[in-house]
Symmetry: C2
Subunit: 304 residues, 2 copies
């Protein structure tokens, strides 16, 4: 059977009873003592080794307790080509243990270049092959088209930036258009037809999703009104200040009565919780397990 | 003396008497017979070898006839980590022969992630170290701030997408705001203060530049009115249908009477001109030299 990103994700989330996504953002200056190697110069081979060991250990802690991880490619690019090599191995490892991988790359470019990015990360010959990726809409709909074609063909997911979690997201996204809509609402509306077409046969959720920050719950509801079937990727939960109920704004009741319709990302809150900067393996594992259990618990409870 | 991207570029362009920038977009399916290796599977090591040999030969043809090259990172990412390794070596080679390197990456992300990208490509420990890069403004001004800080500190250049060359650029960039401006004009205005601050001591041109497509000359003039000191990166000349005089809209008369104030990019027109898909080295060199001479001639003539 043809895979479908949104169907696969929602079915797994229903089993797990929470929408947590763990962001893999290996900040060089926050890698715990247990994994650090030397002074962590970005292009040093041993830095790449340290980052890979850290992320592999994180994946071990996640086990089968989450549906999806979200590597932020900037932190891998920061290490040069060795970072991309680590990314490829971590993506393969995550998928090998049954996790979906959403690559946070926020790419956007004109036609032939967009096709290059789509092929690089989502296509049949991609390396690494990811299940979904994030996109920037500024260049317009023709720049999204090659990604949509690949998503359709290979069953992948896309998340287009609509309303981001940062304080400055209002500078352009909130600009009021002459017809009264905010720009981010116009972007959401421009996606509606494709989002409808990419709905999954099992759950009805669409593989064309959007990014809507947990820090802007009011805006989430306005996006949901325009895109009833799009999954929301919600960054900004935890470290960036959004709480669980704000993160779930725009989610809707699923068949089991729980809120569903997206993934709520936590990166630093899971990767670098209090007590995790230690050289003691058991203490480190305990700190990660505790942070993960707390985030899952908060989101599961807020979803009921 | 502290380097300054815009000063360095404009002084070199005044010596060369043309604003041509050569885009390094190694489309996998267009590599000439002289360099192709096997079936060019994207992740095969020999594909990376072929791409590197092709681009090194292109750099040899460019010699000291242009000021700047613009690698499009998507085509390197297409090859996986080996592609980034090739990019690093090509960037180093180009800079070693005195070319400036403008990385076309169109990155944009929230604060800490943006800082990661800035460090990856522009900072003192970057690998590869580029002279400038392209950015996407959709996330807002705080997402541009880490790039501006690095540009200021290290003398690098930035080019923010304002009005792109693709047919669909109007979808969002041309949206009319309630105050009557188009969105792209609001983006240009939001850059004005920083652009003024990043002016070079020698030429007065700013290292905070913008991307304005050759396919939209009217819009170029509206951007120039708002950003009198910003360099324009003009894509869309040649293969995308913009002609030399359209590409120079928004340029202004320099001290020598020639039009200046930006760089006009040609990628496919120089890399894959008619007659260049040959296994004959002399014929290939002739085709590239001819395409280069024609583009330089057209732009030099239109600049007078």
């Amino acid at each position: 059977m043809q895979r479908h990103f949104a169907d696969d994700l929602i079915r797994r989330q229903r089993e797990l009873e929470h929408p947590l996504c763990v962001g893999l953002d290996p900040h060089l200056d926050r890698i715990p003592a247990l994994f650090r190697q030397g002074s962590m110069e970005p292009s040093a081979p041993r830095t790449a080794v340290a980052i890979e060991a850290f992320l592999a250990a994180i994946l071990d802690r996640l086990g089968d307790r989450v549906a999806v991880v979200k590597p932020q490619i900037a932190f891998f690019e920061r290490l040069g080509w060795r970072g991309l090599e680590v990314l490829a191995r971590i993506v393969e490892r995550a998928r090998g243990q049954g996790l979906q991988v959403l690559l946070d790359a926020k790419r956007g470019d004109i036609g032939s270049t967009a096709a290059g990015y789509a092929a690089a990360y989502l296509g049949p010959q991609a390396a690494p092959t990811c299940d979904a990726m994030t996109l920037n809409p500024y260049l317009g709909r023709d720049a999204l088209a090659p990604f949509l074609a690949t998503a359709r063909e290979c069953g992948r997911g896309l998340f287009v930036l609509v309303k981001t979690s940062n304080p400055g997201s209002g500078d352009f996204q909130d600009q009021r258009l002459e017809d009264g809509r905010a720009l981010f609402e116009a972007v959401a509306e421009a996606l509606a037809k494709d989002a409808h077409e990419l709905r999954g046969p099992v759950t009805g959720w669409s593989s064309l999703g959007v990014v809507v920050g947990a820090t802007y719950p009011g805006e989430s509801e306005r996006v949901r009104a325009r895109l009833p079937h799009s999954l929301f990727l919600v960054p900004g939960y935890g470290a960036q200040g959004g709480d669980a109920s704000a993160a779930l704004k725009g989610f809707v009741r699923g068949p089991d009565g729980r809120l569903e319709g997206g993934l709520v990302n936590s990166s630093r809150g899971i990767l670098f919780p209090p007590g995790s900067d230690t050289a003691d393996a058991a203490a480190w594992e305990g700190a990660i397990d505790e942070a993960l259990a707390r985030a899952i618990g908060e989101l599961a409870e807020a979803s009921v």
